[in-house]
C-alpha cells in the first residue's frame, strides 16, 4: 500500500511540473524539473573519458603486483619492449627521480606517519595491485599483451592483513616507521563520571567491513601535451583539487596544467583521489610527447580504486534504567591500507563527531588509531566516517532498548533533541541548527505501519515460523556540506571548504553559470539552473551550467561530502545576487531613478509604483553595448562569489526497514522500507528522491551483500563483479520515501545536502531489523554483510551457547544440526 502511495505522490509531482507551464509567480526552486543532463545520457552522446580519441594517441597498461608485500629484486622489460606496437616500457626505477609522492592532504595529528607513496613502486610493493611497470603501445591490445613479457622477481615479505595483529608486538612492518599511523583523541565532558555507577552499560564491537565503491564507470585518464601546457582528462570528482595536487606532485606549473572531468560515471568518493595513474599518465605524455590513454578494467579497479570503511569499532554506552544515555565512549581501529592517500586519515574523523547521533548526553570520549596493512588504501566512500558512526550508535541504541525491554523507538524518543531545543550544541561541540526528529519519526511510523508489523512479528514468533520478521529503526543525522574552512583548518585538513561560482550575463540575455562543483550524476546543471532562474528571473532553459574544466571553471573545491548544493549552490545564489545588484544600478541609471526605488520581480527592474522598467535581458544587452552606463560602471553585469559556510549542515531522518529472515537458510529479504528524510529546503524533489533511493541501495549493499575479502596472504578475492556483489533491481525492494522540511538556518537556501543521507541511514536500519528478527534466538549481532551463511551460523551459535530457555522459536523446524568448526569462510 505504502509503495503505491509513494509512487502516486511522485506521479502527482511530475504531473504538476508537466502542467504548470510557467506562471509568473511560480518558483523554479522546489519544482520537480526533469534534468537537463539527461539528453546526452539517454541518447549515448556522452563524453566519458575513455571515449576521447586524440591523434597519435598511445595506450597505457599497468603491470601490477601479484603479491601484497614483496621486495622487487629485478625487473626486465627488454622482451616487452621488443613486442610489436610497443613504444615504451617503464618500471618504477625509471620514474624514481620525477614521480614524487602521492599526496595526503589530511595529516590529522602532528606525529602522524605519512610514508612516501611512489605512484609506481620502486623497491617494494605493499599491496596486491600496486603498479610495478607499464607498457605504452599503439593500441590497448598490444599494451595488454606486452605486460606478459615483463619479467619481475619478487622476494616475498610477510603480509599484514589484520589490524589487531598489525599492532601486536613484533608484527611484520608495512613501513619501516611502524604500523601505527596515528592516534587521534577527542573528549568532551566527564566520561568517567558518566560510566561510574551507571545502571546500564552496553558494550559492543562492530566490524565495518571493507567495501569497494564500484562506480559504474571504471576510471580512465587521457593526458596530452603540446610541450608547454598539459591537459589531463580524468574520470574524477575533483578536477580543481587534482590540478593543484598534480602540480605539486609532478612539478608541472599549475598555470600550464588543465584538468578536465568530462562526463563522469559516478564516484561515491572513489574518484575523490589523486591517483598513481593520473600522475604517471602526465609523466608519460611529458616523456613521449604523445597523448596517452589509460582505461581501467573492472578487475583492475576492484584492486586499485581506493576502498571504503574497514574499521573495528568498540562502542560503550552508559545509561540510566529509564534508557536515558549518560555518555558514549568509542574506540576505533581504522585500516588505512598500505599508504595514506588524499584524505585517508581524515575519514574516521568525519565520523568522530557523529557518535552522539541525535541524542543528548553529558560526556563523550573518542579514540581512533589508524593502522597500516598491506592492502589497498582506504579513503572516502559515500558517507565517509559518518555511516560508520551512525551504524555504531544506532545499533547500540537498539541494544540498549533490548537490554531494557523497551521499544527501540521509545528509547530514541527519551534521548533525542526535541524540536524546540534547536539550535542545539551537542556533546561533540557541533551546533545542530535545525531539525524535527519527532515529525520525521511520526511520519515514518505511519507510512511503515509500525504497529501492524510488530503484531505480525509477535504472531510469527508465537507460532515459531521458520521465517521470522524483524523491524529495524534508524534515526540518523549527519554533518555534511563540507565545510567551514576554519573548522577544516582546526582539524589539520590541507585546504578550505569554500565554493566558487561565476554568473555571466550574455548579451542576448542568456546566462552562463560557472560552478566549482564537479557533478558526476548529481544533476547540478538542472538544480543550479533552477536557482539561477529564480534569482535572476530568467527562464530555466536560458541557463547553461559550466563545470569540470579548470580552464573554464578556474576555481572550485569540487563535489563530495554532500557539499555541492549547500556550499556551491549557495555560491551560485550569491553570485546571482551580485549580478542583480549591478543590474539594479544600471536600471536605475537608465530609468533615471534612484537605485533604492528600483524593485525587482519576474526578471524586471521597475521604478516603484510605475510600469516603467527594464528586463534583465535588456540590461544585459545594454551592459554589452556599454553606450550609456553610469559613471565608473564597468561594462558587465557578471559577478562571482566564493562562499564559505559558517557551519556544517545536518540532514536527518528516520528510516524503517522490515526484513524477513529465513532461519533455515539464513537468507534475509527486505519486505518494506520507509525513509522519511529532512534535508531542509528542496531545490528539486525528483533529484532529492533519486539521491535517497540510491543512497539506501548502497547502504543495503553494505548490510547484506558487499565485502572486499582478502585471503591470509593479503590477496583480494573479490576482484570481479561475480565475487563482489552489488545488488541488482531484483535484489532490492521498492522504497517508500517522504520528507519533512525544517530549513537549514545556516544558508540562505535553507538546504542541507542529500548525497550521503540514504547510505548513512540505511545500513543500521537493515541490520537492526535482522537482529530484531533473531532476538528470540539469543542473537545480539550479525556481522556485516549479513550473508545467509553468517546469519545461519549466528543463529546456530546463539542456540548452542545462549542461555537455556531464551524463549522464541529455537526448536523450529530447521533441518540439520549446530555447526562444528568445519571449513567455511567467516
Amino acid at each position: 500500500m505504502t509503495e503505491q502511495l509513494d509512487a502516486g505522490l511522485v506521479a502527482e509531482r511530475i504531473a504538476e511540473s508537466d502542467q504548470l507551464g510557467r506562471p509568473s509567480d511560480a518558483h523554479e526552486v522546489g519544482r520537480a524539473r526533469r534534468r537537463k543532463e539527461d539528453a546526452r545520457l539517454v541518447t549515448g552522446r556522452t563524453t566519458w573519458t575513455d571515449n576521447i580519441q586524440l591523434p597519435g594517441m598511445l595506450y597505457v597498461a599497468f603491470l601490477r603486483s601479484p603479491m601484497a608485500h614483496a621486495r622487487i629484486t629485478r625487473i626486465d622489460t627488454s622482451a616487452a619492449r621488443a613486442r610489436p606496437g610497443v613504444v615504451a616500457v617503464h618500471s618504477g626505477q625509471d620514474f624514481a627521480d620525477e614521480q614524487g609522492s602521492l599526496p595526503c592532504a589530511w595529516p590529522v595529528t602532528e606525529d602522524i606517519l605519512i610514508p612516501d607513496h611512489p605512484p609506481m613502486a620502486v623497491n617494494e610493493v605493499r599491496y596486491a595491485g600496486e603498479a610495478v611497470a607499464c607498457v605504452v603501445a599503439t593500441d590497448r591490445h598490444r599494451a595488454a599483451d606486452a605486460l606478459e613479457a615483463i619479467e619481475v622477481d619478487y622476494e616475498p615479505l610477510e603480509a599484514v592483513v589484520d589490524m589487531t595483529e598489525a599492532l601486536a608486538e613484533g608484527a611484520p612492518r608495512v613501513h619501516e616507521s611502524g604500523n601505527r599511523a596515528f592516534t587521534w583523541k577527542f573528549a568532551q565532558g566527564d566520561i568517567d563520571a558518566a560510566f561510574r555507577d551507571a545502571p546500564v552499560v552496553i558494550e559492543r564491537e562492530y566490524v565495518q567491513q571493507r567495501l569497494i565503491p564500484t562506480a559504474m564507470e571504471p576510471r580512465a585518464v587521457v593526458a596530452a601535451t603540446d610541450g608547454e601546457t598539459f591537459t589531463l582528462h580524468s574520470s574524477t570528482q575533483i578536477p580543481h583539487v587534482l590540478r593543484v595536487m598534480l602540480a605539486m606532485t609532478t612539478g608541472i606549473p599549475e598555470h600550464r596544467l588543465r584538468v578536465i572531468a568530462p562526463d563522469v560515471g559516478g564516484g561515491f568518493g572513489s574518484k575523490l583521489q589523486v591517483t598513481a595513474e593520473e600522475v604517471l599518465a602526465l609523466l608519460l605524455t611529458r616523456r613521449l610527447g604523445k597523448p596517452v590513454k589509460w582505461t581501467e578494467s573492472r578487475s583492475e579497479g576492484n584492486l586499485t580504486v581506493h576502498h571504503g570503511r574497514d574499521q573495528l569499532q568498540r562502542i560503550r554506552i552508559a545509561a540510566e534504567r529509564d534508557g536515558r544515555v549518560r555518555g558514549v565512549k568509542v574506540e576505533l581501529l581504522a585500516d588505512m591500507g598500505a599508504y595514506l592517500m588524499l584524505v585517508t586519515p581524515g575519514i574516521p574523523l568525519l565520523g568522530a563527531f557523529m557518535y552522539s547521533g541525535i541524542y543528548k548526553m553529558d560526556a563523550y570520549d573518542f579514540t581512533c588509531t589508524g593502522v597500516f596493512t598491506t592492502k589497498m588504501p582506504t579513503d572516502a566512500y559515500r558517507g565517509a566516517g559518518r555511516p560508520e558512526a551512525t551504524f555504531a550508535i544506532e545499533r547500540a541504541v537498539d541494544e540498549l532498548a533490548a537490554e531494557l525491554g523497551l521499544d527501540p523507538v521509545e528509547v530514541r524518543r527519551r534521548n533525542w533533541i526535541t524540536h524546540e531545543e534547536f539550535p542545539y550544541t551537542t556533546v561533540c561541540g557541533l551546533t545542530y541548527d535545525s531539525g524535527n526528529y519527532e515529525a520525521a519519526t511520526d511520519r515514518a511510523l505511519a507510512l511503515f505501519g509500525y504497529d501492524a508489523l510488530r503484531a505480525e512479528q509477535a504472531e510469527r514468533r508465537a507460532r515459531r515460523d521458520p521465517v521470522q520478521l524483524g523491524v529495524g529503526v534508524s534515526t540518523y543525522t549527519e554533518m555534511c556540506g563540507l565545510a567551514p574552512s576554519r573548522v577544516l583548518g582546526s582539524l589539520s585538513y590541507g585546504a578550505g571548504g569554500w565554493e566558487h561560482a561565476t554568473v555571466r550575463m550574455l548579451p542576448t540575455g542568456k546566462v552562463e553559470v560557472v560552478t566549482g562543483t564537479s557533478p558526476h550524476g548529481q544533476g547540478h546543471e538542472t538544480a543550479w539552473s533552477q536557482i539561477t532562474a529564480d534569482a535572476l528571473g530568467v527562464p530555466f532553459e536560458d541557463v547553461t551550467v559550466l563545470h569540470g574544466d579548470t580552464a573554464i571553471s578556474h576555481k572550485g573545491m569540487d563535489t563530495y561530502g554532500s557539499r555541492s548544493l549547500v556550499v556551491g549552490g549557495v555560491a551560485v545564489l550569491s553570485a546571482c545576487e551580485k549580478v542583480k545588484d549591478r543590474a539594479r544600478e544600471l536600471a536605475a541609471h537608465m530609468l533615471e531613478a534612484s537605485a533604492d526605488d528600483i524593485e525587482f520581480s519576474d526578471g524586471s527592474f521597475k521604478v516603484r509604483g510605475t510600469a516603467q522598467g527594464r528586463t534583465i535581458q535588456e540590461l544585459a544587452l545594454a551592459a554589452f553595448a556599454a553606450h550609456d552606463l553610469p559613471d565608473g560602471f564597468e561594462p558587465s553585469l557578471d559577478a562571482e562569489s566564493t562562499f564559505d559556510p559558517d557551519n556544517f549542515s545536518f540532514p536527518h531522518g528516520t528510516h524503517l526497514c522490515a526484513v524477513e529472515v529465513d532461519t533455515e537458510t539464513g537468507a534475509s529479504r527486505i519486505r518494506s522500507y520507509v525513509a522519511v528524510d529532512d534535508v531542509g529546503s528542496v531545490v528539486n524533489p525528483l533529484i532529492v528522491e533519486g539521491q535517497v533511493h540510491g543512497g539506501i541501495a548502497q547502504g543495503i549493499g553494505q548490510a547484506l551483500f558487499e565485502e572486499a575479502i582478502h585471503d591470509s596472504e593479503g590477496n583480494l578475492l573479490t576482484t570481479t563483479m561475480s565475487d563482489y556483489l552489488i545488488p541488482s533491481a531484483a535484489d532490492l525492494p521498492e522504497f517508500t520515501t517522504d520528507r519533512t522540511e525544517t530549513p537549514a538556518t545556516s544558508n540562505p537556501l535553507g538546504v542541507k545536502g542529500v548525497g550521503e543521507a540514504g547510505t548513512i541511514a540505511s545500513t543500521p536500519a537493515v541490520v537492526n531489523a535482522i537482529v530484531d528478527a533473531l532476538r528470540p534466538y539469543g542473537v545480539h549481532d550479525v556481522r556485516m554483510p549479513c550473508t545467509p551463511e553468517r546469519v545461519w551460523r549466528t543463529i546456530a551459535e546463539a542456540r548452542s551457547t545462549g542461555p537455556a530457555g531464551t524463549g522464541g522459536p529455537p526448536e523450529a523446524s530447521a533441518a540439520g544440526s549446530a555447526p562444528t568448526s568445519e571449513g567455511g569462510l567467516r
Partner: protein
C-alpha cells in the same frame, strides 16, 4: 581486460568442425569450441584461459532446436537458453529443464548462451548439469569417427571437465520424458539474482494414486555440492514409500524431511565466498526438502 590473441576457425558444418577440432588436437594445439561464448569469453578476457584457437560452431544451422522424439526430447546443443525456455515442447514434456533454464544468468546472457555450451562447460555451479543428472539424460557427442552416447552419470568427470574426448563436440542431449504423475522443481539458492547457485536442487517426484499419497519414485540432483553435480541417491531411496502428507499430521514423523536430511551424503561441497562445506551441506538438506515438497505438491 583484454584476451590474449587466438586463431579463429569458423567451420561451415558440424563435420568440418569435428575435423578442425580433431586436426588441432592432433597438432597439440589447445583449441576451444565457441558456441554462445557466455562462459568462455569472460574467462578469455580475464586471461584465465589461453586457447590457441577457437572453433566457432555458434552459427551452424544444426544441431539446434528442440524435438519431441517419443520417449525423449532431443535438445540440440546450439539451442539457446532463451529458445529452450520458450519451447512449448520443453515446457510441457520436460518442464524441469524449463524451470532450471529460467534461472540461468540473465536475459541477455540467455539470448546468447547455449544449452550444450552450459553442459559441456561442466561447471558444477551451473544449473543445467544437475538437471541432466537427475533426469538421466543421454549426451550425444560427435567426432570425425562418428557419434557416441554418454549417460549423464558419466558425462561430468570433474570440475569443468566433461567426458569429451579430444576432437569430440557435444551435439545434443536426449532428455527422457518421465511421463504422467511426475512433478518437478528446481530450487536455487543464491545471494543475488545474478550470482551462481550457492546450492541448487533439481527434483522430480512421482506420487502414488491420489496425489497426497506416498512417494513412488524420486530423482534428485544437486548443484554446486562437489566438483561435479551430485545425484542424491540416498534421498531418492529414502523417499520411496514415504508418506507425502503434510508434516506433523497424525503426529507421525515427517519422513520426507528425514529422507531429505540425507541430501548431502556423498557430496564434497566446495568452499567459496558464499559458503563453506558445512553450510552447503545444511543448505542441501533444507533445499532438497523444499524442492521435493514443491515438486510433489
Amino acid at each position: 581486460m583484454i584476451s590474449a590473441p587466438f586463431d579463429y576457425i569458423r567451420p561451415a558444418s558440424l563435420e568440418e568442425a569435428c575435423r578442425a577440432l580433431g586436426d588441432a588436437e592432433e597438432a597439440g594445439d589447445d583449441v576451444k569450441v565457441l558456441a554462445g561464448g557466455q562462459s568462455l569469453l569472460p574467462l578469455l578476457r580475464l586471461r584465465l584461459a589461453y586457447p590457441s584457437a577457437l572453433v566457432d560452431i555458434g552459427r551452424l544451422p544444426e544441431p539446434r532446436g528442440v524435438e519431441d522424439r517419443g520417449d525423449h526430447v532431443f535438445v540440440g546443443a546450439l539451442t539457446t537458453h532463451d529458445e529452450v525456455m520458450r519451447s512449448s515442447v520443453v515446457r510441457e514434456l520436460i518442464p524441469l529443464v524449463a524451470l532450471a533454464t529460467a534461472t540461468v544468468a540473465d536475459p541477455a546472457v540467455r539470448h546468447r548462451g547455449t544449452f550444450g555450451g552450459s553442459l559441456a562447460h561442466a561447471d558444477p555451479a551451473g544449473d543445467l548439469p544437475a538437471v541432466a543428472l537427475a533426469l538421466d539424460c543421454v549426451f550425444v557427442v560427435r567426432s570425425v569417427d562418428g557419434e557416441r552416447e554418454i549417460p549423464a552419470s558419466e558425462f561430468f568427470v570433474d570440475y569443468l571437465e566433461p567426458a569429451l574426448e579430444p576432437g569430440e563436440i557435444l551435439v545434443g542431449v536426449r532428455v527422457p520424458k518421465l511421463g504422467p504423475g511426475w512433478g518437478f522443481h528446481y530450487e536455487k539458492f543464491h545471494r543475488t539474482a545474478q550470482s551462481w547457485a550457492t546450492v541448487g536442487v533439481a527434483a522430480a517426484v512421482r506420487l502414488g494414486e491420489g496425489g497426497g499419497g506416498t512417494v513412488e519414485e524420486a530423482r534428485i540432483a544437486l548443484t554446486n555440492m562437489g566438483p561435479t553435480p551430485v545425484r542424491a541417491h540416498a534421498v531418492e531411496a529414502a523417499l520411496r514409500g514415504a508418506d507425502f502428507a503434510p508434516s506433523g499430521s497424525n503426529g507421525a514423523p515427517d519422513r520426507i524431511r528425514e529422507a531429505c536430511d540425507r541430501a548431502d551424503e556423498g557430496s564434497v561441497p566446495p568452499t567459496d565466498l558464499h559458503g563453506g562445506p558445512e553450510y552447503r551441506r545444511h543448505l542441501a538438506r533444507v533445499l532438497t526438502y523444499r524442492a521435493v515438497r514443491a515438486a510433489g505438491g
